[in-house]
Every structure is written in structure tokens, then in C-alpha cells.
Symmetry: C2
Subunit: 335 residues, 2 copies
């Protein structure tokens, strides 16, 4: 029987499940709606519905499979304790949910691991993606917010409490934008789908009011990263400035990250990463400009070239079901 790991990615609206083999093939997949705040569904009930969906899934694969473990990516998940703690986007935001313990009742013999989605993306990159040969890298997930997974010496950095790696909450400008975390100036208020929209409105608010721009046709509620990207690809000057500013802020943050753990590469993953060179080019420019000389390339004669040694890359999981792969990789990484 083929060994597979059940990967589960729990999002705010649905949980995706997949049976993933050691090579990163998804043999079967399904989804379960994530309960909303007002539904009154308990965490135990939700775990039950996930496990029942998983039992069904095992019969949907083409060939018989043997389950080798369960990996879960979820917001505010704590790897060390196996819990989901005070997750703002789930109905149990006042609770510490003992997720692994609840699930273990259904899979008593199997290893079950949980971490947040951004950490899972990093492990996915290491097991199935562009970081297969790397020991030190950082994965940045650009979604509604900015998540991160930091790998040092081949292991994910969990910190003393299981919650390390919140690069999205680096305070970049103490008098900057208000963040959902209650503080001000966090990186993710600039570099994320939400941040991109806000920057679009900042750019429109500042430039000469008779200038034409496709951005002006969309309301704040309507505008999306894709809309801004499409405008930029058509040469819209304001839309291009939005990406320029976003890349400038991200590049500065990446230079600081390099000064911390000196990674071989930084991978961008998630919706915003799909804008490709629109984001990569200004980010790389700013990262190079802001990089400490120690981390820059040198000529054979030892002269510093103001260009980062750390590679900036798009995730190799961008066009796959990366979140489910990442969740499964949590277990495959340890087998």
C-alpha cells in the first residue's frame, strides 16, 4: 500500500484536505466548511467533521493507501503544544483549542503535527519546493496579511513558545498605518493584499488630481491586487507606483531579515506573489540598496558589489495546492 500523509489546511471559510505521498502528489482531496462565529459549532464537532471527511477520503484514492500521519496548517496554531490559540478568524477566538489531542482520538496511532499556515508553507518549500537543498531560508506568505516561516540549520524556528516567525508584525514605521494587531506601522499593513489596496489609495490621494489612472474607477471595497496588477501591466503609472512602494518596503524588511539569520534564499508565496516581476523587481532593487555589505556579493578582488547574496525567489509551490502540501510536509519532513 502506498504511504500517504493527510494534509489539512484550515482557512477562515473552509478547510482543505488532501492525501499526499512522499513525492508531493495529491492522491485525493476534499474540503469541509469552516464554521462561522455565529454557528455555535464547537471545536470538537469541527474536528469530528474533519476526521470523518478524512475517512471518506481514504476510500477515494485510486489505489489503497496507508495513512502515515496527519499534518495541519491553521491560524495561530502552536507546534509545541499542538493547540490553536485565540485565533481571530475562527469561531473559538477566546479559546485554546487542544487540536492535536482532539484529533488523536480518531487517529490514535499516528503522528499528528500542527503549525500555522506560513510555517507549513516553509516546510512545504523544503520538502517539495525550491528549498530542497537549503538549510537556511525564509518563506514569506503574502495573503490578506503577511506570514512567515524561518528555517535555520534545516529546522523551522518555533521559538520558546511555538509562536516564532511573525515577520508581518515587524514594526517598520512607528507612526505608520494601523494594524489589525492593535499596533501601528506593521510590515503587513504595507506588504499584503490589504496593504497593496491601501497603498493604491495613498498614491491616488497624493498625485496630481487630473492624472488619469485605471485605479480611479474602483472603490476601496472593489479594488483587488489583481486589478492593480492588471492596471500596472497596462502601464498605468499610479498602479506601477503602488508596486514600487510595496517592493521598497518589502525590500527594506528583507534586508533586516538577512541581518538576522543570513538565509540562502527568501521565497515569496501566496496570492500577491502571483504578480511576479511587478513585485519582484522593485523588491529586489530595494533589498539590494538596503543590504549590509557583509551580505553582498564581492568581486574576485574582494570589492563589494551592492547586490544581495541572498536570492529572492518565487515559491515553487505557487501554482499548486501549496497549503495542503505544506501541511503534509510537516509530517513527511520528520519521517
Amino acid at each position: 500500500m502506498k504511504k500517504v500523509v493527510l494534509g489539512i489546511d484550515i482557512g477562515a471559510t473552509s478547510a482543505k484536505l488532501g492525501l499526499v505521498d512522499s513525492a508531493g502528489n495529491i492522491l485525493a482531496e476534499s474540503s469541509v466548511p469552516t464554521p462561522v462565529n455565529t454557528s455555535g459549532v464547537s471545536a470538537a464537532d469541527f474536528v469530528k467533521s474533519l476526521c470523518e471527511a478524512a475517512f471518506v477520503l481514504q476510500h477515494q484514492a485510486n489505489a489503497p493507501v496507508e495513512l502515515a500521519g496527519v499534518g495541519v496548517g491553521a491560524p495561530n496554531a502552536n507546534y509545541s503544544k499542538g493547540t490553536i490559540e485565540f485565533a481571530a478568524n475562527l469561531p473559538w477566538q477566546q479559546e485554546v483549542v487542544p487540536f492535536v489531542e482532539l484529533m488523536q482520538a480518531y487517529f490514535p496511532e499516528l503522528p499528528i503535527r500542527i503549525t500555522n499556515d506560513a510555517n507549513a508553507a516553509a516546510i512545504g518549500e523544503m520538502v517539495y519546493g525550491g528549498a530542497k537543498e537549503m538549510k537556511d531560508f525564509v518563506s514569506i506568505t503574502l495573503g490578506t496579511g503577511l506570514g512567515s516561516g524561518i528555517v535555520v540549520g534545516g529546522e523551522l524556528v518555533y521559538g520558546c513558545d511555538g509562536f516564532a516567525g511573525e515577520i508581518g508584525h515587524f514594526i517598520m514605521t512607528p507612526d505608520g498605518r494601523r494594524c489589525g494587531c492593535g499596533r501601528v506601522g506593521c510590515l503587513e499593513t504595507y506588504v499584503s493584499a490589504t496593504g497593496l489596496k491601501q497603498t493604491a489609495f495613498e498614491v491616488m490621494s497624493r498625485r496630481y488630481f487630473t492624472e488619469k489612472s485605471l485605479l480611479k474607477a474602483a472603490s476601496f471595497n472593489e479594488i483587488t491586487p489583481k486589478y492593480i496588477a492588471d492596471a500596472a501591466l497596462q502601464g498605468d503609472s499610479m498602479a506601477l507606483e503602488v508596486f514600487e512602494k510595496t517592493g521598497e518596503m518589502l525590500g527594506l524588511a528583507l534586508a533586516n531579515i538577512v541581518a538576522f539569520s543570513s538565509p540562502e534564499a527568501i521565497f515569496l508565496y501566496g496570492g500577491l506573489a502571483n504578480s511576479g516581476d511587478l513585485l519582484l523587481t522593485p523588491t529586489r532593487k530595494s533589498m539590494n540598496k538596503n543590504m549590509l555589505k557583509n551580505y553582498c556579493k564581492r568581486t574576485e578582488q574582494g570589492q563589494v558589489v551592492q547586490e544581495a547574496s541572498t536570492q529572492l525567489l518565487l515559491s515553487h509551490l505557487c501554482n499548486k495546492n501549496g497549503a495542503v502540501l505544506g501541511a503534509a510536509a510537516l509530517v513527511w519532513h520528520k519521517i
Copy 2:
């Protein structure tokens, strides 16, 4: 025979040597002048004089000793490669000095490890200091600049190139002070002996000119951190503001560091750390204020208390020969 490790701390003016036992006792110590730029002394000559001093040292201990290894702390040292690379404060600033290789000729059988002084301080903290029981912590060395050593999962973070951990070069304010590294706004331009002096002059430049302050009697060349600290201890309002501002910037940086690796504790080491509560109190205040909720304490009912879980501590090596201990700990850590 008692086993000892030779610890060497190479500074800009002198190199200190000590024979250190596993408990952190220094059984004998001496020093060798570091050659200056214009001396024409080669790196090989310098290594020779260090090794000769070490041979003499072995005969100065009270009882016979057996050398178990050599640990070296030096500016711009690369742990992975065993080199000192382009060190601005040493005469070989255009060179990559193969330090371990040169030294190995004198101690062919022994393990020889080299790293920068701030990393050595972190290892010293782990082996002999306040971090004995810790797996995740950060050590900040406040000298002329700001150095750092980051420990994750019980191991120092060296990164892909051996140069990780340059927290002093986090860019905090892109339009801030000019840094020796050629960039602008680095943390160490605010939080270091040099930064403290600059802040003293900033404070004097901004406050009402008839206000009295002890700071006004000292020139920029004369003023020292100790002078400012003594004034603050006498209640000098401007001097107190200097520490307040320094702590505010350091606390913000520490909050960002916690969002990266979520350490159990952060230790302050080096000259400026001797100012104790003058620096600790405003730093802790700012660190608490800027800390992401995930890393704050909670009441038993799960309510967030805006107070960092990460402890801010003074190094336990502050009043010892910490740099030599740290260098020796590099080897003891691996025995």
C-alpha cells in the same frame, strides 16, 4: 591534569588570552597588543605571537593543565570558514585571513573555533551565564557598536555564510543617522556607546537653551556613556532623556526581534549594559508597549496583559572577563 580551553578575545587594541576550565574559572591570563594598521605586521606574524603567548601561559597556571581546544572571538570572524574577513578594525581589512588554518599549525591536534565577539558572548552566556537552561535566547553586546548572538534550539544561528546576527544593522529609520557601514538609520547608531553620545547632543540641540544640564560641560570628544549615566543618576533631566530615548529605540528593536525568533530571554552585555536600570527601565517599557499580543503574558482567563513574556536581563558575565569566557565557551559548548 586539569582540562582547559584557551580563550582568545581579539580587540582593536589588544588580544586577551585566558585558560578557562569547564566551570568558567580563568586559571591564567595574559594579553598581546593587536598590531595597528601602519605596523606592517602580517596576520601570520600576529598568530605566531598569540600562540607563543599561549605556550607561555600554559606554564603560568598553578597546576599542570591539558589544552582541550582553542576558542577565538574576533571582529568579522566567520565560524563556518574559520576566517577573519575584511575586518575594519584590524590591519588586514582588505584580506580574508585564514585564522584557524594559521593557528592549527601551532596546535595540530586540537579543535580550534572562531566567531565574532558578540556570538562568543552568547555562547558564554549559555555555557557559563544566565542562559544555562535556555534553548532560545538572544545576547546583545553594547559596546562602541551593537553586536548580537542569536541562539535557536540550543545552537547559535550562523546562517548560510557564517555571518548571521547583525542586529546592530537593522535599519530602524531609513532617514536616520549615518552609520559606519555606509547606510543610514541602523540600530547601532542609536543604541551603543556612540549612539548614546549622539543622542546626548540631539537632546541638547532640541531642548530649551536656558535649561541647565551637566551634559553641557562636556565636548563631543570628551563625553562618555559613564559621564551621561553619572549625570542621570544625579537627576539631570537631559541625561535621563538620553537614556529614555535610547531605551525607546532598543525596546522597539527587541519587540521586532521577538517577532522573529520568540526567545525566552534577551541578555544585555557590554559597557553600556553596566548602566543597569537607567537603560533597562525605559527599554522594558518600550519593549512591553511595542510587543505583539502573541508574545505577551495572559491572565488565567486568557486576557492579554500588555507585558512581554520574553525576559529582559543583564548578562551574568558583565563583571567577569566575559569575552575570554565566551571565546573558550565556543569549544566547551561542543565537548
